[in-house]
Symmetry: C2
Subunit: 371 residues, 2 copies
């Protein structure tokens, strides 16, 4: 079993994590390593739930903050092992999101007495269907472990704060027609031609850009797939346009669905998938304090992230992690080393700890961590 050396600096630790392959549904090895490293730290209560590891301080502080990151990656694309090149660390998971995981583990190992109680969650299966998501499972089986005054998700956010997230809803918009032989097409009714109306509406869509807590969101409405056709000599009797709507956090899923039903009025609309938006919650004291501590400026999060799961439990949450999200899921995935270091530094300071003095400097490097 690979072991993690939590006394390494945060960039070297990122590299260690990247080099433990952990494509979704294959997180056992990395979860074992994370569990072993965290259990070796005396000041944390550690529990395991599938391949999701939870570690908590219990210092009786006035506030509790949850810091979470997923351990899995999208499939391998000839981009392992990690490769350091100047100021960049390249490789699968560097950006999404083992740089963030490394920050979590460093804080866990080197800030034994934070000014806020901490709950660290390193979870499985974020990159696959909802049903497998470790945070989703934890919210169902042990929601008390996700409770807190504030949550930080270490999703790539250019080492800045991206607040809230837009919701997402997918619908199939369908047309139907009548099959006929293509040689006698006037005996049929072409369902693909009928889809012109759907595409015309999409092409004419004007996005809303609502301002919430000072952040400007930007909605989207797009065909993400289209399919139709029976055979090369048959007038098709069905066409389906798969549409994805991204909606700002001032709308609920039900409101987003109502908008789509009105937008595609006259067509058959079936909802296939939906996840709520998360309000940024930057007016809440815990979020405000965090924002002040790490530099003051927040940006809206456009992509859906697991912050919405915390919002759903009533916990304000932000994204704050190393890496440019544009590199997530790319063959040339990469993270600027400076982002990882910056996230660690700002979190340490906010939690009332000084800069990490490096290997063997403190009581926090337990025997398991120094392997």
């Amino acid at each position: 079993m690979p072991r993690l050396d939590l006394s390494a600096d945060v960039v070297a630790l990122t590299e260690q994590l990247v080099n433990i392959e952990s494509v979704s549904h294959h997180e056992r090895e990395i979860a074992d390593a994370v569990e072993e490293a965290l259990r070796a730290l005396g000041h944390l209560q550690v529990s395991r739930h599938g391949h999701t590891i939870v570690a908590r301080t219990d210092l009786g502080r006035a506030e509790r903050v949850v810091i979470a990151g997923h351990l899995d990656t999208v499939p391998l694309n000839d981009n392992l092992p990690a490769r350091r090149e100047g100021d960049l660390l390249h490789g699968l998971g560097t950006c999404d999101m083992k740089g963030g995981d490394a920050v979590i583990l460093k804080i866990a190992a080197t800030v034994p007495e934070p000014n806020r109680d901490l709950t660290f969650i390193l979870y499985e299966a974020e990159e696959v269907e909802e049903a497998h998501n470790g945070l989703n499972k934890l919210a169902a089986s042990a929601p008390e472990l996700m409770a807190g005054d504030f949550a930080i998700l270490m999703e790539p956010s250019n080492a800045g704060v991206e607040a809230g997230c837009q919701g997402t809803i997918r619908v199939d918009v369908r047309t139907t027609g009548v099959r006929a032989h293509a040689a006698r097409s006037w005996q049929g009714e072409n369902a693909i031609h009928a889809a012109a109306g759907i595409l015309n509406r999409l092409a004419g869509y004007e996005p809303r850009r609502p301002v919430i807590d000072g952040l400007t969101y930007h909605e989207g409405l797009n065909a993400v797939a289209i399919r139709g056709g029976v055979a090369g000599n048959v007038i098709p009797d069905a066409c389906v346009v798969e549409v994805n709507h991204r909606f700002a956090p001032d709308r609920s899923e039900a409101e987003a669905e109502a908008f789509l039903r009105e937008f595609f009025d006259g067509y058959d609309v079936v909802v296939t998938d939906s996840a709520p938006a998360a309000l940024p919650g930057l007016h809440l004291p815990a979020a405000k304090a965090f924002l002040d501590a790490v530099g003051g400026e927040a940006h809206p999060k456009f992509g859906w992230t697991d912050v919405a799961r915390f919002s759903g439990l009533g916990v304000p949450a932000v994204n704050f992690g190393p890496g440019d999200p544009l590199y997530a899921h790319k063959q040339d995935e990469q993270v600027p080393v400076e982002h990882i270091e910056r996230c660690e530094r700002l979190l340490r300071a906010w939690l009332g700890a000084g800069p990490d003095a490096g290997p063997d400097a403190g009581p926090e490097a337990g025997p398991g961590a120094a392997s």
Copy 2:
């Protein structure tokens, strides 16, 4: 090996042929049976080319007529064996086109001294790609066997004359865009939305209906498939509309292609498939004489058939076979018994022979045929 009894009446012979399963690429058995039955008739010169059988009279007549039918069927669909029900014969191949094949075999067996020399062609692989088509192969390897003053293809035509055929051309019409994450769709360019323009043009298409040799053709332009999409969270960068154009015989393939390029001007157009139309040729003496003999009225053929191969060799050709083409390729394929009998009767008369007197009535029932 199943054997054919050519002394049976034409409907019973159809049933025999239907019950020898002969899905495309599996014609060996039926071709063996046809070859054996024809070789047993002393008055014909028989040759075999793959699973295509050619049988010819050589009486030094002033005219030669080619009569052709394919031996294969589309795949089985729980519709064998043949089943006679009142005036209908049901089953795979009854309509397309073993009723016609039975007529050919009856004429071959019972009209030993036709007033025109005859070439019978029973060929393989009409229902699959061009490259396998037995008539196509024969046109390449032994075009002299397809030569004649006139050709009759026994494709289902409601036992009437359907002249010429429309051509067919398929093109892919493509749009391209720029991929982006669906959460930040404004960074991309949606290729499916761009296909609205293609579908709008298709929806607004007005078909030509040219009159040729007194027959009114009816063109068609249809999307037969559409596809696009990368993933549920990605703005798609490509969309392809597969378009099938059926064009009347007053246009060449090149003219049809030029029409499509102009119609879709501004889009990427790639020709994927094309087959020429066939002019009806009803003004030619041999065709005129046939039409007069079998009842006078011809209809235009909308679907593409192998008559175009004869046209390509300079041989005027018509479709004239039992069965409603709407039942071809259907699970409930069927043919009216009367159609088969009518085709045989009209052909016999045109060829100068009296009505068939039935089994054992003439010298034409050779030893092989009476098995």
